[in-house]
Symmetry: C2
Subunit: 449 residues, 2 copies
């Protein structure tokens, strides 16, 4: 720590009434939308932050790839560093904010630099934490500093704090969340307008909700980063992308959305984890949920997470998951914690105490399924399908046969009672072997609880 | 602090890897439902709490009115104190938990005793904080200790932490909440079954959701305590019950619920506060909210709070507002904060910095209204009512005339466009002066946003 700071414990709130507390000197790496949003927030809400945090925020070093890029805020008042690593200098800053992005590269380098020098790190970088969270937490604990990432999960919703602190006295039985606003926008638009996936994606891109390369959002990668982090917080395990099955929404057709509605469901991209007797069930998947379920009502770019604690019962948090304002709000909340001296463990507990929890084998997972087949419109097909299910010992719950199409094919929609992934896969293989099944079946999970 | 504690700052997490941290010694005053729930929680979740808090919880002194009462948990292992004030002894305990209840009496005495002796206090007592929060916060700050009351507002929902920390970087524009599960249960039942207020109240009492004397819940007092606390957290003012207009749900008839539904609304008991140009609008009232509003979907005994921050945007938190489990969860979360050394200000900022915010004069509040009149079923009455509104310069939005009743009276329902309370009151006075208006008009506010 620099000698301009009071001789209190690192990061402690300096709150003597007689002597104004020293400002919290912030080093900011990354001046994109969120970085500029943070500067805007500090400019506009600076007085109330000083009152609440016990000290003012002072941006004392900034860095970005391009110094002269047009930005929404004037960054010229802040000392510039050409090399982002130079920001992590305890002589100049009390805390480093990493808003560069990306799991590796300069983001990882600056995170390591800050933490190894004993500087607290605040980041909005979910990929960094999902991939390197355990290493960085261990590093922070070894130098006695802290690592904060509220902005990495669900933007303005204080879900990290809710799990780490608000529900800290509970055994968490599970959580289930809509964690990607882009995917939810697309699915909501498909449901509301009947448009195809491609048209809804184009609209999302047009409105600035989806990137030119949308794969992180629509293939579930972004939701998976967040799910891995929430799983760590909820179950005391290291974040581990390698143990997390991930599916996106590319395979969801407007036809599925229509049939799902007919059956009383909406399709949502969920990130979830729950403890079962056979291990931790953790995944990101487009799932059917009942139309009257709480998460079914979360539309557009909103995020929402349901958590079940063994004493608190069910809790829901909902809000804006992305954008400059919500993300800056979360970054600044972490900075207020740093200013107040509230560090604590990176995850719910020290990294050295991460549990070794068995994962539920994918094929052992049990649940109900939705299957859409495109079949030849011919007598006897239904008997073939029913036979395949009987032989595979999967019990059919409901069946819908669509209107025959011009090419002589027809959609057959099946929902099942609870079965295992393994049994369902056997039946899917039998379906695929039928010459009347014309294309790869669409298989989605139904989440009732 | 006792000499059995490490020489760290008061309440700091003792987390040296080589030496196990000293347990957090808890003094517990009050062994009713919540007190027993807390002991149950500590028994069942003790290991994970130790992992997350960095030290174990140890109940080291207990007190209650009746030592030999039958309880759900065995309290005989814990050192008993006949006088609850004896619990607040730094030689025996590191933190005092007050679960006695009541704004004054022993609860206030033990709170003062603990804080004046530098012991952190955790309480679930909303009345205590709503009435004496400013005094107790000042006391805590003067002795360098901390005061925690997460369990006082909305049970298992970490709303205090969300406002104090999660959204701390935001100027809060307003909040709006369903803060009393009993009132919400009654209103939900009236809507779902068409039952009268009296029948729904009896059912709530039968199911244990309402007390024998239900006035705290149905007259809005409980919701008002919570609203006063949330207003303090959101706007940096001292909690002040004297500045908070409070109405309950006794005046809401099943007839109102039916007409509200016909008009596209549900009736909910709301606690709300919002900053307006003319001052802080803060109140507890049964209001009509649009059927598709988020809070309209919160049924039964659930609690939910919507908050709007100037950077985070809208955030919603929802969960169980009462009961042993959720309340114990919140008390234990506060204890984990104490164990981790996370004290901070009692409210969002030090009590000495409470703002002096002008309250919106009741008559200046603007909004839309719902009015139900019982009138004589006679030609010309509608013209009288319309004339009264025109003369009072209140614009009618919609009007419904009900089916005439056997006694020759009929319900006339009116909704208005935005007007002021003062103007509306003028019109209500004109209505009451009409000899065709047979009883006191029912006047409810419509909350659109």
């Amino acid at each position: 720590m620099s000698d301009t700071l009071s001789p209190e414990p690192k990061g402690a709130a300096a709150g003597d009434a007689d002597e104004p507390a020293k400002p919290l000197r912030i080093g900011l790496a990354g001046l994109g939308t969120v970085g500029c949003g943070l500067i805007d927030l500090i400019n506009r809400n600076g007085d109330l932050i000083a009152r609440r945090a016990g000290r003012r925020f002072a941006v004392s070093a900034v860095s970005a790839r391009n110094r002269h890029q047009r930005r929404d805020v004037d960054v010229s008042p802040y000392p510039w560093r050409d090399n982002p690593l130079d920001i992590a200098d305890p002589a100049d800053v009390d805390v480093v904010v990493e808003l560069i992005g990306g799991a590796d590269g300069p983001a990882l380098a600056i995170a390591r630099a800050a933490l190894s020098r004993g500087l607290p790190l605040v980041t909005a970088n979910k990929a960094l934490i999902a991939h390197h969270g355990a290493e960085l937490a261990t590093l922070a604990e070894s130098t006695g500093t802290s690592l904060h990432f509220e902005a990495g999960v669900a933007g303005g919703i204080p879900i990290v704090k809710t799990l780490k602190e608000g529900l800290a006295a509970n055994r968490i039985d599970g959580f289930k969340g809509i964690l990607n606003g882009t995917a939810n926008f697309i699915l909501t638009l498909m449901e509301e307008t009947g448009s195809t996936f491609e048209a809804a994606l184009a609209k999302a891109q047009e409105e600035g909700y989806a990137e030119a390369d949308p794969s992180f959002d629509i293939d579930g990668v972004d939701a998976a980063h967040k799910t891995a982090i929430l799983t760590s917080l909820a179950f005391g395990v290291a974040p581990d992308m390698g143990q997390l099955p991930v599916e996106g929404i590319r395979a969801v057709s407007h036809v599925d959305i229509r049939y799902a509605r007919e059956l009383g469901y909406r399709i949502k991209l969920l990130g979830l984890a729950r403890m079962t007797e056979a291990g931790l069930d953790q995944r990101v998947q487009a799932c059917l949920i009942p139309t009257d379920a709480t998460l079914a009502k979360v539309g557009g770019v909103s995020n929402a997470i349901q958590i079940h604690g063994n004493f608190a019962g069910p809790t829901l948090v909902e809000g804006l998951g992305a954008g400059a304002g919500p993300t800056a709000s979360a970054v600044a909340a972490d900075l207020i914690d740093v200013a107040r001296g509230q560090g604590g463990s990176t995850f719910s507990q020290p990294a050295k105490d991460f549990a070794n929890v068995a994962m539920l084998a994918a094929e052992a997972r049990r649940g109900a399924f939705y299957v859409r087949l495109r079949v030849t419109d011919r007598t006897g097909v239904m008997a073939q399908v029913a036979t395949a299910m009987r032989d595979g010992e999967v019990s059919m719950e409901r069946m819908i046969q669509g209107t025959p199409e011009a090419d002589g094919s027809v959609h057959m929609i099946i929902t099942t009672h609870e079965t295992s992934e393994a049994q369902m896969q056997t039946v899917i293989d039998r379906f695929k072997a039928l010459d009347t099944v014309l294309e790869e079946p669409c298989v989605l999970r139904i989440e009732h609880s």
